[in-house]
C-alpha cells in the first residue's frame, strides 16, 4: 500500500481548467520528483493536497484512508508538510521563533520557554547540517538562509509526507548539498518526499521515482533508474527536443567589454575580466560569492562602488546609475524577476517599453503609436504568448515573463547583455528559447555575460568561464577545457 495516493484530482478557476487529472503515488522511504512546465498544474495540485485550495473532484488517501484537509494546519496535524516556493518569514523574529511559530514550548501561565526553544532549534539545525544561530533575527539572514529556515520549519513537524516546491531556488551548491543530505536521512527514516524542481540534475541526483504533469494532466511516471534526461524532457515539453542548449555564436577578435580592478567594499575585490564581440562569457560562483554584485557594479546599481575601470569598445565609460549604463549600451536581466525585473501591476506593453521610454517619446509626450508598435515587435520577436499587449504581466507564465524582460532590454538595442540566472524558475521549453536568444544575440556580434549557479548551463552556453569565489576571480577556463568538477572545485 502506498503511503500517499492521489487520484483524479480536478480544479478549475473561473472556467479555466488548472488541473484535469492529478494522479500521484508516493511510497514510504522514497523521494518522488514531480515534474512539469509552468502551467502544468503542479502548484494547484500541491495547494489542494495541503488544503489551501478546495477541489472540484478526486480523492486523496493517506495510509489508505481518504483525507480532505480544510487547511494547511490540518494537513500538518496529519503528517503532511510543505516547504513553499514563496518564503513567508516573520522578519522581526529570530530563527527559532520562526521555526516554532504558533507552537512555542511554554512554561507555566503560557510564558514562552525561550531557552528550550533555542535549544531545540539548535538541535534541529545541527541535525540538518544548516549552520545558523537560532537567536539571529530573520531580517539579518540572506535569502538562502531564510530558505534553510523554512526547510527546517517544515521538517520540524516530523511529517511523514514532505512536499518541497523548488527548495533550492535560492540556495548555493554547498547549501543544496546539506539539503540533499537531510533528504537522504528523511528517506532512510521512512518519510515520503515529493520533490518539485525545474532543475533536472537535482532530480537525477536525489529522486527514486518521477511523475510528469502537463496541461493539468498526469502524463507519465516511472523509476529514475530507467529514464534518460531526454525522455524526461520530452514528457515535460510534450515534443522531442533536439538539444537542451542552443549555441551557434562564434566569438570575434575584438574586445568589447573590459573590466579592470572592480572593487566594492566587503563584497568584491579586484575583479578583472574581458569579453569579446560575439562571445558569451560565463561567470560561475556560489550564492554569496559576489557574482551578482559584479553585475550590479557594472550597471551602476551600487552607489558605494569603490573603484575599478570599465571600458566598452576600447573607450572608458563612467557608470553611476542604470541610466548611464543603458546609454552606454548595457542591459541587465536581474536574477529576481518579480523583485526587480518586472512591474507586475503593469501591462505587457508598459513593461516592454519601460527601459526605452526616451526613444518612444517626443519631448515629454509619449508617441503612443510607436509605443504599441515597439511592444508588438518584441512580442513577435520573442514569441511571447499573450492574448494582447494590455494584459497584466502577472498573468503570464514564468518563461513568458522572462521573455518580456528580454524584450524590454532588446528594445534599448544593447551592445552588452548582462544576464543573472536568466533561466531560474523557467520551464524547459522556455529555457531553450532563452538560450536561442542568447546565442542569436552573440551570433550577431553582441556580447553576453552570463551569471549562473548551474554548472551545465555555464558549460553548455559560455565560450569562456570566470569563476568567482569570495568576491575574487578564482580562475578562468575556456569551454573546451572545463568540467563541472573543475568549476565546483574552484568555486568552493
Amino acid at each position: 500500500m502506498p503511503l500517499f495516493e492521489v487520484e483524479g484530482l480536478r480544479k478549475s478557476f473561473g472556467g479555466v481548467m488548472a488541473l484535469r487529472d492529478g494522479r500521484f503515488r508516493l511510497d514510504a522511504g522514497s523521494v518522488h520528483a514531480l515534474c512539469g512546465g509552468n502551467g502544468a498544474g503542479k502548484s494547484t495540485f500541491l495547494k489542494i493536497v495541503m488544503g489551501i485550495e478546495s477541489r472540484d473532484g478526486g480523492r486523496i488517501r493517506l495510509d489508505g484512508r481518504e483525507v480532505r484537509f480544510a487547511s494547511p494546519r490540518e494537513a500538518l496535524a496529519a503528517g503532511v508538510a510543505m516547504v513553499e516556493q514563496e518564503l513567508s518569514p516573520v522578519p522581526a523574529m529570530t530563527v527559532a521563533e520562526n521555526i516554532f511559530l504558533g507552537r512555542e514550548p511554554t512554561r507555566a501561565f503560557g510564558r514562552v520557554d525561550f531557552a528550550r526553544m533555542n535549544r531545540e532549534a539548535a538541535e534541529l539545525l545541527g541535525r540538518l547540517g544548516f549552520h545558523l544561530p537560532p537567536d539571529r533575527p530573520m531580517m539579518d539572514l540572506t535569502v538562502a538562509q531564510v530558505q534553510l529556515v523554512e526547510i527546517a520549519k517544515a521538517l520540524s513537524h516530523e511529517a511523514r509526507v514532505i512536499i518541497m516546491d523548488e527548495p533550492t531556488s535560492a540556495l548555493g551548491e554547498a547549501e543544496a548539498g546539506h539539503l540533499f543530505d537531510a533528504i537522504e536521512r528523511l528517506r532512510a527514516q521512512g518519510a515520503g518526499i515529493i520533490y518539485v524542481s525545474h532543475r533536472l540534475s537535482e532530480i537525477f541526483r536525489i529522486a527514486d521515482r518521477w511523475t510528469v504533469f502537463r496541461d493539468g494532466c498526469h502524463v507519465a511516471e516511472g523509476s529514475m533508474a530507467e529514464v534518460t534526461r531526454e525522455t524526461l524532457i520530452q514528457h515535460i515539453v510534450g515534443r522531442p527536443l533536439a538539444e537542451e542548449f542552443v549555441k551557434e555564436n562564434v566569438p570575434g577578435p575584438e574586445t568589447m567589454l573590459e573590466v579592470e580592478g572592480l572593487t566594492r567594499e566587503r563584497l568584491i575585490r579586484d575583479v578583472s575580466f574581458s569579453a569579446r564581440r560575439g562571445e558569451i562569457l560565463g561567470i560561475y560562483g556560489l550564492m554569496g560569492s559576489g557574482r551578482t554584485e559584479i553585475l550590479e557594479c557594472l550597471f551602476g546599481l551600487a552607489p558605494d562602488r569603490k573603484s575599478g575601470r570599465i571600458r566598452l569598445d576600447g573607450r572608458e565609460v563612467r557608470i553611476r546609475s542604470p541610466k548611464d549604463a543603458i546609454r552606454a549600451g548595457l542591459a541587465l536581466v536581474t536574477e529576481d524577476r518579480k523583485g526587480s525585473g518586472l512591474v507586475l501591476t503593469g501591462s505587457v506593453r508598459s513593461n516592454i517599453t519601460l527601459a526605452g521610454l526616451e526613444g518612444l517619446s517626443i519631448g515629454p509626450a509619449m508617441n503612443v503609436r510607436r509605443e504599441r508598435a515597439a511592444a508588438r515587435r518584441m512580442i513577435e520577436a520573442f514569441s511571447i504568448r499573450t492574448p494582447h499587449d494590455a494584459l497584466e504581466v502577472s498573468g503570464l507564465s514564468g518563461g513568458n515573463q522572462q521573455k518580456v524582460v528580454l524584450g524590454k532590454w532588446f528594445l534599448t538595442e544593447p551592445r552588452v547583455l548582462l544576464l543573472d540566472e536568466p533561466t531560474r524558475g523557467v520551464d524547459v521549453g522556455a529555457k531553450r528559447e532563452i538560450y536561442r536568444v542568447m546565442s542569436d544575440f552573440a551570433g550577431a556580434g553582441g556580447t553576453v555575460v552570463l551569471v549562473s549557479s548551474e554548472t551545465e548551463e555555464v558549460l553548455g552556453m559560455a565560450d569562456r568561464i570566470v569563476v568567482i569565489r569570495d568576491g575574487r576571480v578564482a580562475g578562468e577556463m575556456v569551454r573546451e577545457a572545463a568540467t563541472a568538477e573543475d568549476l565546483v572545485h574552484l568555486a568552493a
Binding site: L301, G339, V343, T345, G346, S350, L354, L357, E358, A365
Partner: protein, 327 residues
C-alpha cells in the same frame, strides 16, 4: 450552461471595472427622481463648485498614491498657501506685508510657490532620506499648520481684493471659476498620467520601484515631483478657498487630506501603488460631492453624511480587493 457562465463573468467584470461609475449614475438618477431641485443647472453647478477644491486636492493625491506614497499634509498646505497668498492680496490696514495689495497674479504665484516648496520638502525627505511618506507628511501636517498660525499671528487675513477673489467667486461663460480651474487641472493630469513619459514613470515607480530603477528611471526624482505636484495643487486649492470666502483662515483645510484620500480610494486607485486612474478620482470626488448635496437636499442631518461616506470608502476598497483576489 456555457453561455450562462460567460454572462455571469461579464457582469462581474463590468461591476468591478465600472462599479463606481454605475453607483454614481444610480445615485444621480435616484436623486433626480426623489428631488426635483437636483437636476437644475443651478444645483449642478453648485455641486461642482463644492466638489472642486476636494477634487483638485484629490488629483494631486492620485499622483502620490499611484507612486506608492501618501500625502497627509495637503490640508495644512491649503491653509499656509492661503494665508501667504492672501497676505499679498489683502486691503486690510493691518497687513503684514507692506506695500500691498499686490496684483492678484503675484499673490497667486506666491501661493503656488508655497505649496510647491512644502511638497518639495516632503518629496526630498521621502526620496533622499528614505523616510516613509506617511511619517514625513504627518510631520508636515503639523509643521505647516504651525507656520500658518505663526505667519498670520493666529488671525484670519481678511478683505481680499476683487481681482484676487475672482478665482473663487467669478465665472467664465456662466461656469464658476473653481469649476473651470478644476476641469483644467483634471485635463492636464489626465494627459500627464495617460499620455506622457512622466506618467509612465509614475506608474512604474508605484508598481515596482526596484524594477523602475533597474530600467533607468530616476526613482528619487519621480518621488520628489509627485509631492511637488500634490503640494502645488493643495496651494491652488487653498487660494480658491480663500478667494471664495474673501479671507484666508488659519484653520482652513483641516481634515481635507482625508476627503482627498477618500476620493482617490473610492475612484479605484490602489493604495499599494501602480494601479489607478485620474478619471476614477474624478468620479470618486463627484460621488462624495453629489452624496453630500443629495443628503442636504433631502434634509438629512450632516452627521449621517459622514457615516455614509465611511461606508462608501470601505465598500470601494472591498470591491478592489475582490478584484485582486480573483487575479
Amino acid at each position: 450552461m456555457a453561455v450562462g457562465t460567460a454572462r455571469r463573468i461579464d457582469t462581474g467584470e463590468i461591476m468591478r471595472r465600472y462599479g463606481i461609475l454605475i453607483a454614481f449614475l444610480v445615485l444621480c438618477v435616484v436623486l433626480a427622481v426623489v428631488n426635483q431641485n437636483f437636476l437644475t443647472t443651478r444645483n449642478i453647478l453648485n455641486v461642482l463648485r463644492q466638489t472642486s477644491i476636494n477634487g483638485i486636492l484629490a488629483i494631486g493625491m492620485t499622483f502620490v498614491i499611484l507612486a506608492r506614497g501618501i500625502d497627509l499634509s495637503v490640508g495644512s498646505i491649503v491653509a499656509l498657501a492661503g494665508v501667504v497668498s492672501a497676505s499679498l492680496a489683502t486691503m486690510a490696514t493691518t497687513a503684514m506685508v507692506p506695500g500691498g495689495p499686490y496684483p492678484a497674479a503675484l499673490a497667486i504665484l506666491a501661493g503656488l510657490a508655497v505649496g510647491a516648496a512644502c511638497g518639495a520638502v516632503n518629496g526630498v525627505i521621502v526620496a533622499r532620506f528614505h523616510v516613509p511618506s506617511f511619517v514625513v507628511t504627518l510631520g508636515m501636517l503639523s509643521a505647516a499648520r504651525g507656520l500658518t498660525l505663526l505667519y498670520a499671528g493666529g488671525r484670519p487675513v481678511p478683505n481680499l481684493t476683487d481681482s484676487y477673489r475672482f478665482m473663487g467667486n467669478g465665472s467664465l461663460w456662466g461656469i464658476p471659476m473653481p469649476v473651470v480651474i478644476f476641469a483644467a487641472v483634471f485635463l492636464v493630469a489626465w494627459w500627464v498620467l495617460s499620455q506622457s513619459r512622466f506618467g509612465r514613470q509614475v506608474y512604474a515607480v508605484g508598481g515596482n520601484p526596484h524594477a523602475a530603477r533597474v530600467s533607468g528611471i530616476s526613482v528619487a526624482s519621480i518621488r520628489i515631483w509627485i509631492f511637488v505636484i500634490s503640494g502645488t495643487l493643495a496651494g491652488l486649492g487653498g487660494m480658491i478657498l480663500a478667494a471664495r470666502t474673501g479671507s484666508a483662515l488659519t484653520q482652513a483645510g483641516i481634515a481635507y487630506e482625508l476627503d482627498a484620500i477618500a476620493a482617490v480610494v473610492i475612484g479605484g486607485t490602489s493604495l499599494a501603488g501602480g494601479v489607478g486612474r485620474v478619471t476614477g478620482t474624478l468620479i470618486g470626488a463627484l460621488l462624495i460631492g453629489v452624496m453630500n448635496n443629495g443628503l442636504d437636499l433631502m434634509g438629512v442631518q450632516s452627521y449621517y453624511q459622514q457615516v455614509i461616506k465611511g461606508v462608501l470608502i470601505v465598500a470601494a476598497v472591498m470591491l478592489d480587493q475582490s478584484r485582486n483576489r480573483r487575479d
